[in-house]
Symmetry: C2
Subunit: 218 residues, 2 copies
């Protein structure tokens, strides 16, 4: 019985880790669809989001079944509660990748981003995708050092996000209000995506140590 | 023992309902600080957000203790899991009210919003605050009709949000890029605030019926 139980806990963790890899791929494709005005790729991301929602639903059901059947305590209970939280965060990351793809589709065949701005988003995409994959690693390994790395990786995203605002507010911005609105929202999507990846890693720290790290700046 | 347990469940629900009322008041004040460029009020909201974070933390601890000590099943388990989710949503509503107040503080003594735009935000504030109070009522009453009302109230917010983009994209927008960026983010904060209130109500539907309503458009 105990073995089946441990297996169930491992399965739950693995579905969350797999979900992180899924939303990493979604953001990687969404970013490419944005940078290359690739409608086919944007629609792929949009169509696939429903799968991520389903995996979240299944993960929650697994967590719920564990609570009912096993009444876990201590670390095991922390794993299950963290999985419930984590599933929510990761689904939201999928939604944010979806929003990026929707922006690419909305402006197609026009590019969403002014040429001068595109490299920043290529970088935000890279940082975001790496964060999501690293969150998957942290879920699988429960490696506290890797969890701590996500915090500093997120600083890179915050710097890019802040820099976008400096560029937007600059008097030399010549791309008009529509592009400014798009860039504002898109930068926000990437920044929030990274925040959720960090939140996932923080929950793993909680699983291992029983303590949540200090609050995340929002 | 059973009575103490029911009392604990009620207490947990009441702390979440109280949290909803708190973030309603926070958004009410944040909106006033925005519309009246009232720095004192903005700082009040900013200072008080830490209290909301603490209440969330306490609510999660209560939920955790219930899981450990009572190993609830069926409806009771749904209440506890929904409380864990709800606490996250409501804390985020507090964060969004905080972001509105931060915008008011950042531009002080200048108003953030062009005069033409202010009435829309007065309305978004009113709709958001009403949604948060209604979410509190739904938590206390478990009234499914009231829970359904939140969905249609949220449509009003979505309409205001969409309308803001029409105004922003209009060629007659004369307020420049900085104001456009502020309006874009602020409108997003109000819209997300409303989404989280709806998510809280949906979890109550789940508590009562065992079924989640269909997905929330994001």
């Amino acid at each position: 019985m105990r073995d089946a139980y441990t297996e169930q806990l491992d399965e739950l963790a693995e579905s969350l880790a797999g979900m992180c890899d899924d939303v990493a791929r979604a953001m990687e494709k969404a970013t490419r669809s944005l940078l290359e005005a690739d409608l086919r790729l944007a629609e792929e991301v949009i169509d696939e989001d429903v799968k991520i929602d389903e995996i979240r639903h299944t993960a929650e059901e697994k967590a719920f079944a564990l609570l009912v059947l096993q009444a876990p305590v201590a670390t095991d209970l922390r794993i299950v509660v963290s999985a419930i939280h984590g599933a929510g965060d990761i689904e939201r990351m999928g939604d944010l990748a979806l929003h990026v793809a929707q922006a690419a589709r909305r402006r197609h065949p026009q590019p969403v981003l002014p040429e001068q701005i595109a490299p920043y988003f290529a970088e935000m995409g890279k940082v975001g995708v790496a964060l999501a994959h690293k969150a998957a690693t942290v879920i699988r390994s429960r490696d506290l050092a890797a969890a701590a790395e996500l915090e500093s990786d997120d600083d890179a995203m915050d710097d890019l996000h802040k820099h976008m605002f400096t560029v937007l507010m600059d008097r030399t911005w010549t791309h008009g209000v529509e592009a400014a609105v798009d860039v504002t929202l898109l930068a926000r999507f990437y920044e929030r995506y990274a925040d959720h990846a960090v939140a996932v890693a923080r929950r793993i720290v909680y699983v291992v140590t029983g303590q949540m790290p200090g609050p995340l700046a929002v």
